[in-house]
C-alpha cells in the first residue's frame, strides 16, 4: 500500500481509511500550511466525502433549472421552498438512506425519515406529509423479505410516533438492488413565507447553542461509509448506522417551532450527516464568519469522548443554532419545558476559521474556506452508451386469448400489485388533513385550516433509465407531473434523489450525465424546477452497480379542494376516455418483463410538446368540472390502469376499441397518456376542448356492472381481480 513518494508524517493508511485520496491529502496540507492532526483529518474526511461535498455531481447538478415564479428557495439550503399563495409556503426535500438501510433496515430507514423531517422543520416549517421511494432486490431473493419488512416498519415506527402522516410512495423490485437497496425519504412541510429560517450564522460574539439529544459514539463516519461501495465485509460496518429516537425528535420539533414564533433564532442547522462537523461548518460558511466551539460543553451520552468522536458522531435528533443573546434565557426555558438539552457551546467569531477547544486545549483550527470552497470538485470522465434499440413487436407473436390471463398475472406481480400491505403500516391520517390517501396517483393533504391542498408524488422507472438514461430522466420527472395533474393539482416543483453506482466508472458517470440532461429538459419544458435534492453514489456491491435511479418527488397545489380527483370510477353510465395516442411501444414494459421474463425493446420516448399539451388539457378539463375521475397511464399500460380504476371504485366497465394489435394496445407503455371518466353530459364539451388544443381524446368504454368486459376478448370479474391485486406484496412478507 505504501506509496514510494509518500513524504508525510501522517500514515498513508490512516489517510486512506478516512476515504481521502492522496492528492486530496496534499491539498489539505497545502491549505493548512501543515499536516492536519487526527481531529482535523476526520473533519476533512467528513466534509470532503461524496455524500457531503457532491464532488462528482456538483458540476452537473448546476445544469438543472432551479428558478421559477413560485420558487422562494432553490437548492443549497436544508430544503427547497415554494410559494403556495396567501403567504404560505411549502418546504420539501427528498434524501437517501441507502447504505444504512441495507445494513440495518429498521434503524436505517427510521433515521432516514428522522433526518429529512429535521431538514424541513429546521427551516421553520411544520412537517405535514412523508413520502418515500423504495427499491428492493428480486421478490424471491433471500434478503428481500427481511429488508422489506424492516424498512417498512422502520419508516412507520418513526413517522407514526412523531405524528406526521406517511401519505405516499413507490416501491420497485429488481435484481440490480439485490445487494444494495434504496431507501429515499421525502418530507413536505408548511410555513409562512415571512417566517423561513436559514443556516447562515451572523453577529460576531453571538452564542452558538446545541439543542436536542446528547452526543454518543453512534454513527461515527456514517457519511464516509455512505460514500463507499459494499463488499463481503460490509456487515462489519453496522456500528456506523445511527439509532433513531422519534420521541425526542417530536419534542425537538415542538420546541423548535415554539421558539421560532419568537424573534430569537438568527441561524439554525440540523446535525445530519457528519453531525457537528457539517452543521457548524455549513453555518459558518454560509454566514462568511468563523465559529469557536468548546467541545467540553457538548452534552455527552458516553464518557471520555474525544474531540474526534464528538465532531464525527452522527447521534440523531440534534440541532445547532445561533441565537440573539438577549433571548437566550427565554430559549433555554422552552427547551427545558420539553426536557431537551440546551447548551451554549461556542460563539460566532470574525476569524473565518473553525476553532475547536477542549478542556482548554486547541484541538483544531481550520480556515472555513478550505473546507468548503476549496473542497475537491471533479469533472469525472464519462461515456454515454448507446440506448438499447427500440423493438417493433408484431401482433401475430401474441395470442389475444391470453389478454385477461396476462392481466391477472401482471396485477399480482409485486411491481404492479396493491401496496396496501405497506401503507396500512403507516399512519397516513394523523393530523386529520389527509384528503387523498395512499393508492391514488398522488396523495393530497389539506393545508391546515384552509380549503387548499398539496398534491405529492414520488416516481422513477429505473428500467427505463438503464436502457435510455436521457428518456428515463425525462420520464421520472414527467411521471410525477402527470400524477399531480391527475389528482387535480397544478404541478409546481420537484426534489430529486439521485441514486447511482460508482461515479469513477465512466459508463456510470455517463448514466448520471444523461439522466440529468433528461430531467433538465423535462423540468424546463414543463416549468417544473428542481428546488432541492440529494445525491447518493457508490451504490455498488462487489463491483456491480444498481440501475440508475433518479427518484423524483413532485409537489403541486390544489387551490380549491373540491377539484380533487381520485382514480376510483364513480358512476354507472359514465364514459371512460383516453387522452394521448397509443403506438404499441411494448419495449421495457411490465408486460415484457413479467409475462415474457425479458428486459428488452428499448425505453419509450417522451415528446415533451405532446406531454405539455395533454397535461394542460387534463388540468383545464378538471378545473372546468368536466371530469369525474382521472388516472395517468403508467407502468403496465392502459389495461392495468383501467383495472386500477375499476378495483378502486368497485365498478365494472365495457370496453370497445378498434385495434389490430390488442396486446400492443392494452399493455404498451407509450407516454403522455391519461384515462378520464366523463359523464355523458360533459363528453361533447370535453371533446371540443381536446380538439381545440390538438389533443388526442377518445372514448373507449362505458362504466357499469361488476366486470371488465372487453368486446371480442372476454370478461373478468373486478372482485376476483382485486383479490389477485391485493396478494402481490403480501406474498413476499409471508
Amino acid at each position: 500500500m505504501t506509496n514510494h513518494n509518500w513524504q508525510f508524517q501522517t500514515e498513508q493508511s490512516l489517510v486512506e481509511n478516512h476515504g481521502l485520496k492522496l492528492d486530496e491529502f496534499e491539498k489539505i496540507v497545502e491549505g493548512l500550511g501543515r499536516e492536519p492532526n487526527l481531529t482535523e483529518l476526520g473533519i476533512f474526511s467528513a466534509m470532503w466525502n461524496e455524500h457531503c461535498s457532491y464532488k462528482s455531481s456538483k458540476f452537473w447538478l448546476k445544469k438543472l433549472p432551479t428558478s421559477g415564479d413560485r420558487v422562494v428557495q432553490g437548492p443549497g439550503e436544508n430544503a427547497g421552498v415554494i410559494d403556495i399563495d396567501d403567504g404560505d409556503v411549502a418546504v420539501f426535500k427528498m434524501e437517501s438512506h441507502n447504505h444504512p438501510s441495507f445494513l440495518e433496515p429498521y434503524q436505517g430507514a427510521a433515521t432516514g425519515v428522522g433526518g429529512i423531517l429535521r431538514d424541513v422543520f429546521t427551516m421553520g416549517a411544520r412537517p405535514v406529509a412523508n413520502l418515500n421511494a423504495l427499491r428492493f432486490g428480486e421478490p424471491n431473493h433471500p434478503k428481500t423479505k427481511h429488508l422489506l419488512s424492516g424498512v417498512v416498519s422502520g419508516i412507520g415506527g418513526y413517522g407514526n410516533c412523531i405524528g406526521v402522516p406517511t401519505v405516499g410512495g413507490e416501491v420497485n423490485f429488481h435484481p440490480s438492488y439485490n445487494g444494495n437497496i434504496l431507501v429515499n425519504a421525502m418530507t413536505v412541510g408548511i410555513a409562512k413565507k415571512d417566517k423561513i429560517f436559514y443556516s447562515a450564522a451572523a453577529g460576531i460574539g453571538n452564542p452558538v447553542v446545541y439543542v436536542g439529544s446528547k452526543t454518543g459514539r453512534d454513527g461515527i463516519h456514517g457519511a464516509t461509509m455512505a460514500s463507499a461501495e459494499f463488499d463481503e465485509d460490509s456487515e462489519d460496518k453496522k456500528p456506523t448506522v445511527q439509532v433513531g429516537d422519534p420521541f425526542t425528535e417530536k419534542l425537538l420539533l415542538e420546541a423548535c417551532l415554539e421558539l421560532m414564533k419568537e424573534e430569537a433564532i438568527i441561524a439554525i442547522q440540523d446535525m445530519g450527516a457528519a453531525g457537528l462537523t457539517s452543521s457548524s461548518i455549513e453555518m459558518a460558511s454560509k454566514g462568511d464568519v468563523g465559529l469557536e466551539i468548546d467541545l467540553s460543553k457538548v452534552p455527552m451520552r458516553a464518557q471520555n469522548m474525544s474531540a474526534y468522536e464528538l465532531m464525527l458522531s452522527e447521534s440523531q435528533e440534534r440541532m445547532l443554532m445561533v441565537l440573539d443573546p438577549s433571548k437566550e434565557e427565554m430559549a433555554r426555558d422552552i427547551f427545558k419545558k420539553w426536557d431537551l438539552e440546551f447548551e451554549v457551546i461556542g460563539k460566532v467569531t470574525d476569524t473565518k476559521r473553525l476553532i475547536l477547544m477542549m478542556n482548554g486545549k486547541e484541538e483544531a483550527s481550520i480556515p472555513i474556506n478550505i473546507l468548503v470552497e476549496d473542497a475537491p470538485e471533479y469533472q469525472r470522465d464519462y461515456i454515454v452508451e448507446e440506448p438499447s434499440p427500440i423493438k417493433e413487436y408484431k401482433s401475430e407473436d401474441f395470442d389475444q386469448n391470453n389478454i385477461l390471463k396476462d392481466l391477472n398475472t401482471m396485477i399480482m406481480h409485486p411491481d404492479l400489485s396493491s401496496r396496501k400491505w405497506i401503507w396500512e403500516q403507516y399512519d397516513h391520517m394523523v393530523m386529520a388533513d389527509t384528503v387523498v390517501r395512499p393508492g391514488s396517483d398522488a396523495a393530497v393533504v389539506r393545508v391546515h385550516g384552509t380549503n387548499k391542498g398539496l398534491a405529492m408524488s414520488t416516481d422513477c422507472s429505473p428500467v427505463y433509465c438503464k436502457h435510455n438514461p436521457y428518456e428515463g430522466g425525462k420520464h421520472a420527472v414527467v411521471e410525477t407531473w402527470r400524477n399531480i395533474i391527475a389528482s387535480g393539482a397544478l404541478p409546481i416543483a420537484i426534489t430529486d434523489c439521485m441514486n447511482f453506482g460508482n461515479p469513477e466508472k465512466p459508463e456510470i458517470m455517463g448514466q448520471f450525465v444523461e439522466c440529468i440532461r433528461g430531467m433538465g429538459d423535462a423540468c424546463s419544458k414543463l416549468n417544473y424546477p428542481v428546488v432541492s435534492g440529494n445525491v447518493s453514489l457508490y451504490n455498488e456491491t462487489n463491483g456491480e452497480g444498481i440501475y440508475p435511479t433518479p427518484a423524483i418527488g413532485g409537489v403541486g397545489l390544489i387551490k380549491d379542494l373540491s377539484n380533487v380527483k381520485t382514480l376510483s370510477l364513480k358512476e354507472d353510465g359514465n364514459f371512460l376516455c383516453v387522452v394521448g395516442k397509443t403506438a404499441n411501444h411494448l419495449g421495457s414494459s411490465k408486460y415484457i418483463s413479467i409475462i415474457q421474463s425479458k428486459e428488452e425493446g428499448g425505453t419509450p420516448e417522451i415528446n415533451l410538446d405532446t406531454e405539455l399539451r395533454n397535461g394542460n388539457f387534463v388540468m383545464d378539463a378538471i378545473n372546468q368540472k368536466l371530469i369525474a375521475s382521472a388516472h395517468d397511464v403508467g407502468e403496465g399500460g392502459i389495461l392495468v390502469a383501467i383495472s386500477e380504476m375499476c378495483m378502486s371504485g368497485n365498478l365494472g366497465i365495457i370496453i370497445e376499441i378498434k385495434t389490430n394489435f390488442p396486446h400492443g394496445y392494452f399493455f404498451a407503455e407509450d407516454q403522455s397518456r391519461y384515462l378520464l371518466e366523463v359523464s355523458p353530459n360533459n363528453y361533447d364539451e370535453c371533446q371540443k376542448l381536446a380538439n381545440n388544443n390538438d389533443v388526442h381524446f377518445e372514448k373507449i368504454g362505458i362504466v357499469g356492472g361488476d366486470k371488465i368486459s372487453i368486446k371480442n376478448i372476454g370478461d373478468q370479474q373486478v372482485s376476483a381481480l382485486k383479490r389477485s391485486f391485493e396478494t402481490g406484496i403480501e406474498q413476499i412478507s409471508h
Binding site: S153, N160, C161, G163, D339, Q425, V430, A432
Partner: protein
Amino acid sequence: MKSHVIVFPGSNCDRDVAVAIKNISGHQPQMIWHKETSINQSDLIVVPGGFSYGDYLRCGAMASTSPIMQDVVKKAKEGVPVLGICNGFQILIESGLLDGALMRNSSLSFICRDILIKPKNQSSVFTKKTQVAKMPIAHNEGNFFVTSEQLKKIQDNDQIAFQYCDENGNVSEHSNPNGSLENIAGILNENKNVLGMMPHPERAAELAHGCEDGKTIFESILN
C-alpha cells in the same frame, strides 16, 4: 360548554381532536400541559392519541404518572366525562380508570385503516347517538384483553362501549382487526362517564375526511 385536551410529550392527535370539538360544538377546547396539576370546571376531558413518552416502557404507562393525571382521575371519579382515544385509552387503563389491557395487535404490525364499530351500550353519554359507524384505527397495541371475571363484570354492567363489526353490524372474527377479546373497540367505566376507545372519531369528523361518522360521539356529549 367547556372542554379540555391533555397534552403529553409525544401526544400527536391533540390538535386533531381539538379541531373536531371546535367544529362540532363551536367552542375551542383548552389545551392542558401534562405538568399542570389541576383542570378548571370541565364538561369533557379528552386524553388524546399519539405516542406519549414514545410508548417507552409500556404504552401509556409513563403518561399515567404525569402530574395532571391525578386531577383527571379525581374529576373522573366526580363524574366528569373523560374520553381517551387510542393512546389516551392506553393511558386511562394505566391510570386504573378502565379495566383490561391493550396488547400488541394479533398481526404483530401497526394497522392504519378504516374499520366499522357499533355501540353495545346504547345509553351512555358517549354512545347514545351512534349506530354502525366507520372510522380509522391507527395503532400497534390495540388488542384488548381482560380476565374472564373482569369480562363478565363489564358485560353484566353494560360497560362494552363499541365492538368491531361488519357493514351489517355483525360482530365476527372477520371484522376484528387486531385480535381484541369479544371484538371490543372501546369500554366504559362502571359509572359510564369514562370511555376509552382505539378508533379515532376525530379523523372521521368532516367531509374532507371522506366520512363523518365519528361526529356522533362528540355530538352526543357536547350538545
